[in-house]
Amino acid sequence: MKGGGWGRWAAAGALALLVAFAVFPFAWALVASVTPEAELFEGGGGWPRRLTGDHYRALFTERDFWVPIRNSLVVAGATTAFCVAVGSLAAYALARLRFRGKAAILGFVLAVTMFPQISIVSPLFLLLRELRLINTYPGLVLPYLTFAMPLTVWLLVGYFRQIPPDLEEAARIDGATRWQTFTRVVLPLAVPGLATTAILTFIYCWNEFLFALSFTLGPERHTVPVAIALFRGQYQVPWGEVLAASLVATAPVAAVVLAFQRRIVQGLTSGAVKG
């Protein structure tokens, strides 16, 4: 490149600004979570005079934060597993089989995600109460499927369509049944797509608040977002603990994403180039 000069500096400056903008809230939360309670309310911000682990300690002693983490893992994990297992079959059928009303089904699946969540809370509550599923894990997994399943199906239809049909035909002629073709040829090739889809689904479920708040009753079934929201007492908000909890809640998701990072990038970009 020639004559970058000012242009290069301007681009670097803009990027630095963008990074600062994206990272600032996390940095702020991290600093605040290790600042003693008293200092937090003095105002002014900036670096604390003394670092403390009190907020984190409180989280796992007084607050019993393990419980909501366990609940969130179970609910988000179960929803994700179910979505990928069932959603991949549905998506494969929609991507490959020829049948009437395929477009209508896909449109319908998408339409389901468009209901404002708040509008289905009451009917779902009545339904779950009737089924005696309020304050249970299935009582959260089932409602989560309403938004997670359409997401899974839509993403996976896209991935399956990219797999060359020749490969499946070759497998059929090689003697594989439809099911064997699916498990031996299609699924292994769709792994990046499956990983991406699973992670997105998991993140959605992990952060979901409204359903979790409405369909759980006691702390023994609260998920992480609900638990954090209920930290606030009548007269004060324990900001230190709230922010510590937020960071603790972000950690597992970040870990999963980092673990699958290469696969995701592959998955997100593999659709861009044909062949």
Binding site: L167, A170, I173, D174, P188
Partner: protein
């Protein structure tokens, strides 16, 4: 090994597109039949119906005396080589070759033995642990071929397997396929749009156009006696020259009168008088030299001369812009824009009916 028979097979797509109409075709046990035609002629669809990847909308498909019309592909015991090779990208060459045997529950030891044998014969032994992405085009083609061979199926299907190779490799592989067919004595159906591939490989060649079978015959017969104008034009390179005109009887023989020439032609069958098309191959046309007895003579201007080394292709224009292509010996001196006499030997003439293009047979 088995024979393949199509009986009155139709394929009409829901959108009304006809890929095969009333198609009856027989491939003898051990025969290599080539399906050839321009793109959109339905040749691939016919192959896919044999494979079971498409269901015919009418008619019956027989393989080895068994009605397989409704059988799914995995129960037909065929092997197919795809144009795209369709290698499984997530498997090594060894796994690719062995996939069909694994699906058919052949013992691991037996799979190993057969994969090794085929890899050895195709020169793939060194590549068994690689993945398709790490192979060259020619190597992928071999793996695709090997995957079919290792299965020892009752018949082989080829869907334009050479069209992704470069010219040199294509000629080599073509010869290799021919040798392979002779060695195995296997039933093979081979689809191509390339008429050179068709006539060099096929025991018999079936020419398709718009889903309708035009002619099935050994290559030389297609060349010598095309059943209609379409086959005449499609088989042979450069393509046959055609002249519109009329045919009438005159005494014991017949006379063809074109726009720029008139000539006596062998006596044609009763009732063939009227509008006709005379076809003659570029190799049969004579340029320069004296006209023989009964030759048709056409005066035309030399447009382009293409030296090909062993011969030269001459593009000429008759008055009125009619285009004529002739192939001559390479050292025939010709100047562009010079007007020359083009001789049409009576014995090399093909006559087709003006109405439907069908060949007019000589009277017996």
């Amino acid at each position: 090994m088995a024979d393949i028979r199509l009986e009155h097979v139709d394929k009409v797509y829901p959108n009304g597109y006809v890929a095969a109409r009333e198609l009856s075709l027989e491939v003898a046990d051990g025969e290599l039949l080539v399906l050839v035609g321009p793109s959109g002629s339905g040749k691939s669809t016919v192959l896919r119906m044999i494979a079971g990847l498409e269901a015919p909308t009418g008619g019956t498909v027989w393989i080895g005396g068994r009605d397989v019309t409704r059988l799914p592909p995995q129960e037909r015991d065929l092997a197919m080589v795809f144009q795209s090779y369709a290698l499984y990208p997530h498997m090594t060459v060894r796994e690719n070759l062995g996939f069909g045997l694994r699906m058919r529950k052949v013992a691991a030891e037996e799979i190993r033995r057969r994969v090794d044998a085929v890899a050895e014969s195709l020169g793939l032994a060194e590549l068994l642990d690689r993945r398709p992405a790490q192979l060259s085009g020619g190597q992928r083609q071999r793996v695709a071929l090997g995957r079919a061979l290792v299965r020892e199926p009752c018949a082989f299907l080829f869907d334009e397997p050479l069209s992704n190779l470069d010219a040199k490799l294509r000629v080599e592989t073509r010869a290799e396929l021919s040798r392979l067919h002779r060695r195995l004595g296997a039933t093979m159906v081979y689809v191509t749009h390339d008429q050179v591939e068709a006539v060099t490989l096929g025991d018999r060649v079936a020419v398709l156009r718009d889903g309708v079978l035009q002619q099935v015959a050994p290559p030389m017969e297609l060349y010598r006696a095309p059943a209609n104008r379409f086959v005449g034009e499609f088989i042979g390179s450069p393509a046959m020259n055609f002249f519109e005109g009329t045919l009438r009887r005159e005494g014991a023989g017949c006379v063809f009168r074109g726009r720029h020439f008139e000539m006596a032609v062998p006596r044609a069958e009763e009732g063939s008088e009227g509008a006709a098309v005379l076809g003659v191959r570029p190799h049969d046309l004579g340029l320069g030299g004296a006209a023989g007895e009964g030759d048709g003579v056409l005066r035309a201007e030399v447009g382009v001369v293409e030296p090909m080394g062993s011969e030269q292709v001459v593009h000429l224009f008759a008055p009125g812009g009619e285009r004529v292509v002739a192939v001559t010996r390479p050292d025939l001196p010709l100047r562009v824009e010079e007007t020359v006499e083009v001789r049409i030997p009576a014995r090399a003439v093909h006559l087709f009916r003006g109405s439907d293009g069908r060949r007019i047979p000589a009277a017996g």
